[in-house]
């Protein structure tokens, strides 16, 4: 069973500290949600875990099953079992979705152990049908000209094809209508098993109506300031964040405008 452990994580971008000591442990089988208003450091946490080149870890540690994640290149982190569904996936012209996915799968499997074309196509067809995606999307260039909703579905398609140990979903619900949201949730729920852990970053409770988290954390000022069960998300939905700010004596929850 995989365990991602984050200890006292401090992260800066362009010299400005955004995360100021995050502690979090995600085990296989657990779904965690991180909630919080905009600009409190949620996306920074996901970027730091994956190794985004602009984010600098200034203090603390991230380990996956005891292995030092911060020592790994981005691709090594992915092959070790991490996955980040991005808020703004890149568009890559001239590379088809299918070719890209096959390269990604084969990169994990290693030379000499490549997936057979037949098996790959079968899996891809199956997952795309599950996510109600147009089969044409396999042959379109990666994310190029995809609508916001198509991009999000495509991130979940990758999640399902790559079967990571721990996935981080960075605002996977933003810009989705209710039908698309249900499909995305269906994909994530399908992944649920004792070997798969998930960190869901959102500032809307809405997504959590469809994906039930085991743990809910609230982030403000670059730290996790409150943790609880699914009932915490419901209270946030009903009452907003002000009661937490009052409780903790926080006046301004923002660390910086997130990009």
């Amino acid at each position: 069973m995989a365990t991602l452990t984050i200890k006292d994580l401090h992260v800066a971008i362009d010299g400005k500290e955004i995360l100021k000591g995050v502690n979090l442990e995600i085990k296989g089988g657990e779904f965690h949600a991180i909630m919080g208003p905009n600009g409190t450091g949620k996306s920074t946490l996901s970027a730091a875990i994956m190794g985004h080149p602009k984010y600098e870890v200034t203090k603390g540690s991230i380990t996956l099953d005891g292995q030092d994640v911060l020592e790994m290149e981005v691709d090594e982190r992915a092959r070790a079992g991490l996955f980040l569904a991005m808020q703004y996936p890149s568009e890559i012209s001239g590379v088809t979705n299918a070719d890209f996915l096959r390269s990604a799968i084969n990169a994990r499997r290693g030379e000499g152990n490549e997936i057979s074309l037949m098996k790959f196509i079968r899996q891809l067809d199956e997952k795309m049908a599950f996510l109600e995606m147009n089969p044409d999307m396999a042959h379109r260039y990666l994310n190029e000209g995809f609508s916001g909703g198509e991009k999000k579905r495509n991130e979940i398609l990758q999640l399902m094809m790559l079967q990571p140990k721990i996935a981080i979903l960075d605002e996977i619900d933003s810009g989705l209508d209710i039908d698309a949201l249900k499909v995305v949730a269906k994909g994530v729920n399908d992944m649920r098993n004792s070997d798969f852990g998930c960190l869901i970053i959102t500032h809307y409770q809405r997504l959590l109506n469809y994906i039930t988290p085991d743990y809910v954390h609230v982030m403000m000022q670059g730290r996790i300031v409150k943790s609880g069960g699914p009932e915490l998300a419901q209270r946030l939905e009903a009452e907003g964040y002000d009661w937490i700010k009052r409780e903790l004596g926080i006046e301004d929850e923002v660390v910086e405008q997130e990009a």
């Binding site: 994956m50 190794g51 985004h52 080149p53 290149e73 981005v74 691709d75 982190r77 992915a78 092959r79 996955f83 980040l84 991005m86 996936p89 890149s90 890559i92 012209s93 001239g94 590379v95 070719d99 890209f100 390269s103 990604a104 990169a107 994990r108 260039y141 990758q158 790559l162």
Partner: protein, 433 residues
């Protein structure tokens, strides 16, 4: 200083022409061209200085090559380009200057299609060749066009009769083995309402210390004709190349180019489409990879004369090592070419700090009632794209490879012969590695 006196005189050209049994008109074109070559200046490609390049000095104009009795005799790297098992092939293979193999399907012969080496065409279809030879590209444009006309020693002639539509591609492979100087001339005439696809490869099996290749291709798409012209150039490092591919359109004609320009030597490439007929279209797609210390200049022009003409230029170039690549794109709309549209896009990807790339989009418009647009960029591999691919477990080198292949895909995907497409991908692979 480069010697400006030409190495071959009137007497040589006369005996060469007579030796090949050429008609008088061609001998006269050659002699006049030679006289002009001595006077005319070199071309002046924008932003590349070529006065010290050797385009004119060589000691042998001809080398001996035997025809092949079978395509099996070809070297492996050439053989892979051709579907040898196919009986009704439409293939021309030239070793240096000499036609080594030519084959045209019976069905096309019966329809009057001509697909043969230029020397044979000159003897058998003299009037037809005379009408088009150096008509699209003029002898007196500059020293290299004149020298070309004077010393032509290889090439192909294609004629597609009126309303004949050929669905299968005609393929030409020009193999550079040991020639010191190749003056290759390609003529494609698509008569009224006809349709043809022609795909050529220039490939080196040698790595001569120094060689000169001077290519002129003239494409005539008469009224309502449609020509698709694909090319993959992969001449070796020591070769200095001047290549001029020119298209002329009649009314409602279309010429589409897909050019994979992968030479390893210094290269000046001109690709000009003259949209003469109303309602005609020119579409140019070019991809380039430059490496080592090579210097290359690619000028792509579409010139609109007819009304309602459409011109599209798309160029994607990758530059690595210490190579220099200049991309000039010119969309020109002449007075009277109303309702025309000129669009162009040039993108250059730099893979190393010492690489030099330059994209110069130029629009010259002499008519009010037109539309035009251009986009150009020079940059490095987008770090966010790399991050995205790597975040799925793809190693950096492989991620870069995917991005580069994707960047060059607009032309690679256009190549209609699967074997040639595969070879282009392999050449790209080799050049970007």
């Amino acid at each position: 200083m480069i010697e400006t006196k030409l190495p071959f005189d009137q007497q040589y050209v006369r005996s060469f022409s007579e030796g090949r049994g050429e008609p008088d008109w061609l001998l006269n074109v050659r002699l006049q061209a030679l006289a002009q070559a001595e006077q005319l200046p070199l071309p002046k490609p924008d932003k590349t200085k070529i006065d010290r390049w050797n385009f004119t000095q060589f000691s042998a104009h001809l080398v001996e090559s035997a025809p092949l009795s079978s395509l099996e005799e070809l070297p492996e790297q050439v053989k892979v380009l051709i579907d040898i098992a196919e009986e009704q092939k439409n293939v021309y293979v030239q070793r240096d200057h000499t036609c080594a193999y030519v084959s045209l399907a019976d069905e096309l012969k019966e329809k009057g299609v001509i697909f043969t080496d230029l020397a044979t065409a000159v003897r058998e279809h003299s009037e037809l060749v005379q009408k088009y030879f150096m008509d699209g590209v003029k002898v007196n444009e500059h020293r290299l066009t004149a020298l070309h006309a004077a010393l032509v020693n290889g090439g192909v002639f294609v004629y597609v009769p009126k309303h004949v539509q050929i669905d299968v591609p005609l393929q030409a492979v020009y193999v550079h083995e040991k020639a010191e100087a190749l003056f290759n001339h390609v003529i494609i005439v698509a008569d009224v309402g006809s349709k043809v696809t022609y795909v050529e490869n220039y490939i080196s099996t040698c790595e001569r210390s120094e060689a000169i290749v001077n290519i002129v291709a003239e494409v005539f798409a008469l009224d309502d004709a449609h020509v698709f012209f694909g090319a993959v150039d992969s001449l070796a490092k020591g070769t200095t190349t001047y290549v001029n591919r020119r298209g002329i359109t009649g009314r409602h004609a279309r010429i589409e180019w897909a050019l994979g320009l992968m030479n390893d030597g210094n290269t000046i490439s001109e690709n000009v489409t003259r949209l003469i007929g109303d309602g005609s279209l020119g579409d140019t797609k070019t991809v380039v990879v430059s490496r080592g210390e090579q210097v290359q200049n690619f000028t792509t022009s579409v010139i609109h004369y007819g009304k309602h003409t459409e011109g599209y230029i798309l160029k994607h170039g990758v530059v690595r090592d210490e190579a220099t690549s200049i991309f000039n794109g010119i969309g020109k709309i002449e007075h009277g070419a109303s309702k025309s549209n000129a669009e162009q896009e040039s993108r250059v990807l730099m893979l190393s700090p010492k690489a030099r790339g330059d994209a110069n989009p130029i629009l010259l418009i002499d008519e009010d009632d037109v539309t035009a647009g251009h986009a150009a960029s020079v940059g490095r591999v987008d770090p966010m794209q790399l991050y995205y691919l790597m975040s799925r477990g793809i190693p950096k080198v492989e991620a870069e490879r995917l991005i580069i292949h994707g960047f060059l895909a607009p032309v690679v995907n256009e190549i209609p012969i699967e074997r040639v497409k595969k070879q282009l991908i392999e050449v790209i692979e080799r050049k970007v590695k």
